[in-house]
Subunit: 169 residues, 2 copies
DNA sequence: TTGTATTTTCAATAATTAATGAAAATAAAA
DNA sequence: TTTTATTTTCATTAATTATTGAAAATACAA
């Protein structure tokens, strides 16, 4: 396979994968371009490579910064802003997981906490029972998942967990 | 909070959460309705509860079956088909994770395996190097994640892993 | 300051994805 | 069989989400 073909495939697939993470296709493609670059790139270079509009490039770079997946790099004598990608797979995964947890898991935990306080005399006992069973189960599972995620995020620094992680290698 | 309000909140939030799983909003709402029901429901009951069209209900039920999140229940003397939801939080999570892995992780693994064979004399050494570094790292990470997922799926049956899982509680 | 390069915002538009509903297919009863 | 109930499919339509591009804002230099 030729380099350009491989590069193109990687960028396309990364875009597709991104869409299923709650990251827009373009945003993931911008990340891919930066991942494959050994030097920092500016907005115009990215616009040019992916043939996207200025606005789109600006938005995508901004979101990627918020997700903690890319960083700005200051280049002396340059007026433009340059970007580099986080390239460590483990960091990419934990950053995405943390951001998604914040956006998706926490709202659900909040909703379930509210629902716990159902007081209603008009509804049937079995309906209320089922609601409470389901919400309690999901709530404890969601909280456990969130705790587990923080544990994994800290795992790099922790020798004990590194040993556990090796079990999966 | 009143039962109906709580129920409504749960269904709405479950729908929102679903959209960020790669499951359509309606599909997740149908799942929520079944989760909260102590008895099996038929398609008309679901259409009525969620005020959705026949076609949409049919499609959503079909997809939920494919994701392994609901089951058909045969009711003697009834012509209609009845459905019940998987209610165990751990099972729901592993089913979703497995299905997503199949749809998202495996295509990426396949792409990365292809890319490993870049042979190109026209591209620069450093570009090829960077492509190989990134793809190799992500590939080994993706494969490890997939292995980890299967381990978790089997974990219920395994006392040793149950002990590890307790670390996160 | 004032001028110029660069980035960001956001209303308009395009592209994508989901939902409808009627027709076709299937399955059970008469 | 034929009739009736039920489910599925899929072209059309609606809703949602992403992208553009020009104007506004910002940042730097003269």
């Amino acid at each position: 396979m030729k380099y350009n073909e491989a590069r193109h495939k990687f960028i396309q697939s990364w875009g597709t994968l991104g869409s299923s993470w709650g990251i827009s296709k373009t945003m993931a493609q911008v990340h891919a371009v930066l991942l494959l670059s050994s030097k920092a790139l500016n907005q115009d270079e990215i616009m040019d490579t992916l043939q996207i509009s200025r606005g789109n490039a600006s938005m995508s770079l901004k979101s990627l910064m918020e997700w903690g997946l890319i960083y700005k790099e200051f280049i002396p004598g340059e007026r433009k802003e340059y970007y580099i990608a986080e390239k460590d797979a483990w960091r990419i995964a934990t950053q995405v997981a943390q951001e998604r947890s914040k956006r998706e898991l926490l709202p659900v935990i909040h909703m379930l906490d509210q629902i716990k306080e159902v007081k209603d005399t008009t509804a049937t006992k079995s309906d209320i029972k089922e609601l409470q069973n389901v919400t309690n189960d999901i709530l404890s599972f969601a909280k456990r998942s969130d705790k587990m995620l923080s544990t994994f995020v800290k795992a790099e620094k922790n020798t004990f967990f590194n040993k556990i992680l090796k079990l999966f290698k």
